[in-house]
Amino acid sequence: MLYIKCPWCGWRDESEFGYGGEAHIKRPEDPDALSDAEWADYLFMRTNPRGSHRERWVHTAGCRRWFNAIRDTQTYEFKAFYKMGEEPPGGEQ
């Protein structure tokens, strides 16, 4: 059971949150300009890193805000939490 820091509400139990998968995937500006393969890449393909992973969470049972986190997929350690629209801290790629 992870402990997650909502940028607004503070530390809360994982059971209050929903997981939104990889963060910073921008919806293409002009979907029609994309080939089927490029559109499929946006739809389905995700990184699966061993180590730092930028991911989206939503505080479902609390303030209902979406936010981003950087989590180490090996140790489960959260390295950062940041609000939607903010740049990932520490120059994490």
Binding site: M1, L2, Y3, D13, G18, G20, K26, R27, P31, D32, L34, D36, W39, A40, L43, R56, V58, T60, R64, R65, W66, T75, Y76, E77, M84, G85
Partner: protein, 1010 residues
């Protein structure tokens, strides 16, 4: 009811409180403070069960969580508890205990004949023998093995006991209340930190409960009593005896199991739950879990009466029980010398102290020799004799390399063997969240290495076995953890009690006593006694090419038992190192995973079971009325929705036919409150709806309603509903009942993450509005009668519009919409007035025979009209073209999922399409929902797999039409009107179906437009 092995004085039992219990039908007596194991030993009962595979006699071995043997069944009926460890089961008056894994009795066990075939059942035996022929496994091998093996019996009926969960937070969780844990809790507690101290035993004190050590010149338990007293008086300290920390997860989350009333027995009137699962979120965790003594491994080392030396000391010192009358002590280190002294001091003859070390020096050795105990240095026990109890040991000389025994053997008679092969730190909880460990040559075992965040190890579990060292480490860990939580500095404030430090001589690591013949040809040397796994099995695994300890574990089943190999695993790693010719430090241990000791499923479920609490139960404002009308309910999401309203003597079909006819012919009323409702407001509301729905919303006039479908970005239909424009910048959106929360989350995700520039607020108003849906030709007459301020004429209030007014005096929004194809109105009022307005509708509807209908009739009515239900007729793989909804796909804007609709797969011509079906042979036959469709009339006889043409999504009897109808997805279905498909049934029948339009009734939609 004598207790022949009970000492006259001493121990932590209450001789004024005798307790009666039965063991395999015989009545015995123990005392308050006993475990079941100590009470059995007091009565001379060593033999408690049979081993898992070979059915060898097995006795009580340990004195705590590590005991692999003392598995018993306690209690009877549905409250019976299988597979309890007698060593951790507190005795209560009237306890009924039975042995497991033996038949007909523990002393005469027919399966013991397995021992004769033991040479045929080596490691991997199950894998190799029973895999062929495959079909034999389920029908023959497995049931027989289960019958012969199998431990306790689970009850058949529901568990009558109560379980609970408790979420807790603390600055510091201390696991283990021995000397280190008590010191850590004291140091942090005095600083005002919130501390939880848990320990699996019934009393706090850990190893000190069975110790004869002195602290500050007094027996150690005096110090324990003072510390516990001080802790108990602190407001912010929670003491949890009888509580096992069984799982340590990430971010300071630790699961504890508190045995709240187990020690009171099943007849206790206590209202508390039997067990409570504590889910602790700790800022800091101090693990003070101690160490477990490992036995020495030698031939026939599994006989009852052979125990770890520390267990022998525990039974003597804590429970005042002597587990034998003539003992042999066999050790490779100093700690068992204390056991020899404990035995001698309590009148048990110590026939010999056998030490594998060639030279023995030190204070303890001197004291043992002073007791005139025969100390045999450089010797080892090579074999034992006995049947249901050990009767003697065979001793030989061990060479200096430790790889062979020689010389003239000597036999020593005894009924108790106390062995010590060193101590293993309990690193399980450190290991659970991924903490690393390394081999420590001084103690010949594994100690914590890589730290776990915010977690400290203190005392014996970190490899520090001296009493003064444990206490000092405890204070230090308490200070560090408290400081990290903001309470004081790292400097220790508390004062450690004075204790005499005993200098111990180095141990001599020995993983198994060498044998005269090869390992496989020697009498069995048990490593994991619960699973009958031997050193020969490990050698066999190595010979067969297994090199990783994880693979050897799985091949030999080492550590697979309910004890998880607490006694045997490190010995197993050492023997594997020998077999592979490698260093044990390189071999490592297997991974420790939760649970530390077994946890009953009930404690994990807590109170989250049964119809009231397994999930949330949501009710509408008119729920009580539905109940009073005799409605049966259907779960839709968490909601309870009326399913249908049977009248006296009606079958379900009769009820549905009546509800359908009444609605089509006059007036039906449905509680539609459960539909999701979202208030969408802001200058960009229309633009927002344009992006999330496939059709256009900007031109919808205020006062009008529109049906819309939402797609996922993959182009598949996600949800649908009718939304109304309340004002230029304001919409009232509805969703399906089950999809409400998902849709709101989906919309918020897009607004917050992708389109923050859109000025739109979404507010869930599902619970605010009670929705009363009237359908049927007479519905207008009723709304006209109960509403004020609305002109209900067809011209003033056309289909797919809404009006504000009052219903039965309550401000209302009335929507002229229809999911039945009939003239219909949906009245929305604040839910606190829902029943009031419903009552008014009911009264006004009486002249028209108003009939309440439930979800099943609603499904029939909409199926007659070919309306989909998202989630029933769609399954996440259906796009709008499949449904024939081309007209809802705007060509003038982008919307979520649009690009996916032109992917090659979406425009494939052989996709399944939404059609209707009617049965050909028997017009009334209802095709089962989910039935597969084929073009082959003889599909049941055809070679498999049969090519499929589609499947049925919805199927009903239509009283309106007088025959059954179904909705289905059929490949190229729209091109196949009037063609025949077949629905083969499990019973061999094939239902012949004709493909039709999905709209069965009033295809021009005239009835809803009147």
């Amino acid at each position: 009811m004598s207790q022949p092995h009970r000492l006259q004085t001493g121990g932590r039992i209450d001789r004024d409180r005798p307790l009666r219990f039965t063991f395999n039908g015989r009545t015995l007596q123990g005392y308050a403070g006993d475990t079941l194991a100590s009470a059995l030993l007091a009565n001379g009962e060593h033999l408690v069960g049979r081993s898992f595979k070979l059915h060898r006699p097995r006795g009580i071995m340990g004195a705590g969580a590590e005991c692999p043997n003392s598995i018993v069944q306690v209690g009877s009926g549905n409250a019976t508890l299988p597979n309890l460890r007698a060593t951790q089961t507190e005795l209560y008056d009237g306890m009924e205990v039975r042995s497991v894994n033996c038949w007909p009795s523990v002393k005469f066990d027919l399966s013991a004949v397995n021992q004769l075939f033991a040479p045929l059942m080596p490691a991997g035996f199950y894998y190799k023998t029973f895999m062929w022929p495959k079909s034999f496994w389920h029908n023959i091998y497995e049931p027989r093995i289960r019958k012969a093996a199998g431990f306790g019996k689970a009850p058949d009926g529901p568990d009558p006991d109560r379980y609970d969960k408790h979420n807790a937070h603390c600055d510091l969780l201390v696991v283990g209340a021995g000397p280190a844990g008590l010191a850590a809790a004291l140091e942090a507690g005095r600083r005002g930190a919130r501390v939880i101290l848990c320990d699996e035993q019934n009393e706090l004190g850990g190893s000190l409960l069975a110790s004869r050590a002195f602290l500050d010149g007094e027996p150690a338990m005096s110090w324990v009593d003072r510390v516990v007293g001080e802790l108990a008086a602190m407001d912010e300290v929670t003491l949890l005896p009888r509580t096992t920390a069984f799982g340590h997860y990430h971010h300071g989350f630790v699961s504890l199991l508190e045995r709240v009333t187990d020690h009171l027995g099943p007849t206790s009137p206590d209202e508390r739950p039997r067990q409570r699962q504590w889910r602790v979120r700790a800022r800091q965790v101090v693990l003070a879990t101690g160490a477990i003594e490992r036995p020495l491994v030698f031939s026939n080392n599994d006989r009852p009466g052979i125990m770890p030396a520390s267990a022998v000391s525990t039974y003597i010192n804590r429970y005042s029980v002597t587990p034998g009358t003539r003992a042999v002590v066999f050790t490779n280190n100093d700690s068992a010398y204390q056991t020899a002294l404990d035995l001698a001091d309590h009148g048990v003859e110590v026939a010999a102290l056998i030490d594998v070390r060639p030279e023995i020096e030190g204070v303890l050795a001197d004291r043992v020799r002073k007791e005139e105990i025969d100390v045999l240095p450089g010797m080892a026990v090579v074999d034992t004799t006995g049947g249901q109890r050990v009767s003697g040991v065979r001793v030989m000389r061990l060479n200096t390399r430790g790889d062979s025994v020689y010389g003239e053997g000597r036999t020593i008679e005894c009924d108790l063997v106390a062995t010590s092969g060193g101590w293993n730190p309990v690193i399980h909880l450190h290991s659970h969240p991924g903490g690393g460990m390394c081999y420590d040559h001084d103690i010949a075992s594994f100690v914590p290495d890589q730290p776990v965040a915010n977690t400290l190890n203190a005392g014996a579990c970190s490899g520090n076995f001296s009493l003064d060292g444990c206490i000092t480490e405890g204070f230090s860990a308490g200070a560090t953890a408290a400081a990290a939580s903001g309470f004081g500095s790292d400097d220790i404030e508390g004062e450690a009690p004075a204790t005499a430090r005993v200098r111990e001589a180095p141990m001599r690591p020995l993983w198994r006593v060498p044998t005269r013949r090869t390992v496989t040809r020697s009498p069995k040397q048990f490593v994991d006694v619960q699973n009958d796994q031997t050193s020969a099995d490990i050698f066999l695994a190595a010979r067969e090419g297994y090199a990783s300890i994880e693979h050897i574990k799985r091949y030999t089943a080492m550590g697979f038992g309910t004890d998880q190999g607490k006694l045997g695993n490190i010995n197993g790693a050492g023997i594997a190192a020998e077999a592979l010719g490698e260093d044990i430090a390189a071999i490592g241990t297997t991974t420790f995973r939760p649970a530390y000791t077994p946890v009953t499923i009930g404690a994990l479920a807590g109170r989250d079971f049964g119809p009231e609490r397994f999930h949330a139960v949501r009710k509408t404002a008119m729920h009580v009325w539905h109940e009073q009308q005799g409605a049966l309910f259907e779960n839709v999401g968490d909601w309870k929705r009326p399913w249908y309203y049977p009248q006296a003597g009606e079958t379900m079909r009769q009820s549905l036919d009546r509800e359908v006819r009444a609605t089509r012919q006059s007036l039906g009323v449905l509680d539609a409150s459960t539909l999701g409702k979202i208030d969408v407001r802001g200058p960009d509301a229309a633009e927002f709806l344009n992006r999330v729905y496939t059709n256009g919303w900007k031109k919808l006039e205020v006062g009008r309603c529109r049906y819309g479908i939402m797609l996922g970005e993959d182009g598949m239909v996600m949800d649908d509903g009718v939304s109304a424009r309340l004002a230029e910048d304001h919409y009232h959106m509805t969703t399906t009942t089950g999809g409400a929360a998902r849709v709101l989350a989906w919309l918020e995700e897009w607004l917050q993450t992708e389109w923050p520039e859109l000025r739109v607020y979404l507010t869930s108003t599902t619970d605010q509005w009670a929705a009363i849906s009237l359908a049927g030709p007479n519905s207008r007459k009723v709304v006209e009668q109960i509403c004020e301020g609305i002109d209900f004429s067809g011209e003033a209030f056309p289909f797919m519009t809404w009006r504000a007014g009052k219903a039965a005096g309550i401000p209302a929004r009335v929507f002229r919409i229809s999911f039945s194809g009939e003239l219909g109105f949906e009245i929305n009022v604040p839910a606190n007035y829902g029943q009031h307005v419903w009552d008014a509708v009911w009264e006004a509807g009486q002249p028209y025979g108003i009939t309440p209908y439930g979800t099943e009739t609603m499904h029939i009515l909409r199926a007659e009209k070919g309306f989909i239900i998202a989630g029933q007729d769609t399954d996440g793989s259906v796009n709008p073209m499949d449904l024939g909804m081309h007209g809802l796909l705007s060509k003038y804007k982008d919307y979520l999922g649009r690009r996916s609709l032109s992917r090659s797969d979406a425009v494939r011509e052989d996709r399944e399409q939404f059609v209707g079906l009617v049965t050909v042979d028997d017009p009334a036959e209802i095709i089962p929902e989910g039935a597969q469709l084929t073009d082959d009339p003889n599909a049941n006889q055809a070679p498999k797999p049969v090519p499929l043409a589609g499947y049925v999504t919805s199927s009903y009897y239509s009283a309106t039409l007088g025959h059954s109808i179904a909705l289905a997805m059929v490949k190229r279905g729209r091109e196949r009107m009037d063609e025949i498909v077949h629905a083969p049934q499990a019973d061999g029948r094939v239902i012949k179906c004709r493909i039709t339009s999905p709209v069965f009734y009033d295809p021009k939609g005239e009835r809803q437009n009147v």
